[in-house]
Symmetry: C2
Subunit: 202 residues, 2 copies
DNA sequence: GGCGATGTTAACCAGTTGGGGAATTAACGT
DNA sequence: ACGTTAATTCCCCAACTGGTTAACATCGCC
């Protein structure tokens, strides 16, 4: 089209027609969509390939099959999760931040939930959640002394993920989509409030 | 083996060999197991039939196929759910009661969660959650005035279902199975505590 | 312009899936 | 005994699934 070659080793991605990297990325994107929507068993390789706009064969070529693609997705997710820094925030703000993250990446969350539901006994290499921070906060008094960090962590994760896990409840009760800004602001405020009440001494 | 026949018109159920009702029930039981463990797409009719100890063909004969069986399960679940009375309990006790129910019937909960995750847009006939009780409790002061019932309901359901949704977190953090009595008592106590803090004025 | 390497495609394949036709067998009233 | 009905089994099948084989196209390089 435009911009003649002129000895380039890294041509602009938009110009290429054959681009392994692009195919890979599009496959991963499409796979996330489909796996998140239908789960591993429900997902169809053909469907993924179609959405990615590439040939089905490439799934095997690049990822070694359906399962390989799935694993690749998980790896990427774990990588991103590890990057997720926990800045120095109060518990309420931290919770709201988690909520935001969840609502911003529903597909990834779904993937995790779906994987956890399957529970074929695996999921062994998962790094243990770090609660030292929570224990510290409890000593500070930021978390009430009678609340145990393990339970709090589980409860908080449950509250934060509820909009995805129970999306139909959100639609029913709030009359909006879980991903809508209205919902995030309303439920976020409430989560701040709730977690705050868990710190202040009665 | 034992107990020769001897002219009986209504034989004890255990003696019968052909019993439509029993086959139906066993199919439903097996289906709950399998669907809860693998999800709809992951479940195999052959697997269900094997666990039920009946011929695969009976699934079609009695329920009209895999989907029919799935629907039948849902119906039964909705029926049981409707029966679940909400006695006159405080919010903390009510929450603990919900937790108990969830932990006692993990398969049913899984089924619901899995169904919700699929989210093919259906699930229309679901009866709307009733919040009038929560609103009343807020007026009484049993629920803090600044907490909105919708959010509270969602958060509570999230906390209560978390042990199923995030079972790996339970194993990781608590070192026990979500279904174990130790876990129920510990997490139950904490949920009572948490929900209680949401009522008392600060 | 040719050439090897690599991305891409089409056609095909073997295994599995849910389902159905029709025979077989047990239950039960007569 | 016997015939009717209903429960159960056997065997087959068409559709679909993920994966593969082998041809084809495009690229970078000489």
């Amino acid at each position: 089209m435009e911009a003649p070659t002129g000895s380039r080793r890294t041509p602009a991605p938009e110009e290429r027609q054959r681009d392994a990297e692009r195919s890979r990325r599009q496959l991963l994107t499409a796979a996330l969509e489909v796996f998140a929507a239908k789960g591993y068993a429900g997902a169809r390789v053909q469907d993924i390939a179609d959405r990615a706009g590439v040939n089905k064969r490439l799934i095997n070529y690049y990822f070694g099959g359906k399962e390989g693609l799935y694993r690749a997705l998980q790896s990427e997710w774990q990588r991103r999760e590890a990057e997720f820094a926990t800045p120095d925030l109060s518990i309420p703000e931290l919770t709201a931040r988690y909520l935001h993250e969840v609502l911003a990446n529903p597909a990834s969350i779904r993937l995790v939930l779906w994987h956890g539901l399957a529970a074929d006994g695996e999921t062994p290499p998962e790094p243990p959640e770090d609660l030292s921070d929570l224990y510290r906060r409890r000593e500070t008094g930021e978390l009430a002394a009678d609340i145990d960090p393990e339970s709090f962590m589980l409860a908080m994760m449950g509250m934060v993920m509820a909009p995805i896990t129970l999306q139909h409840v959100v639609r029913q009760l709030f009359g909006v989509e879980p991903g809508s800004p209205e919902f995030e602001s309303r439920y976020g405020d409430q989560l701040r409030l709730i977690t705050q009440k868990l710190s202040e001494p009665r």
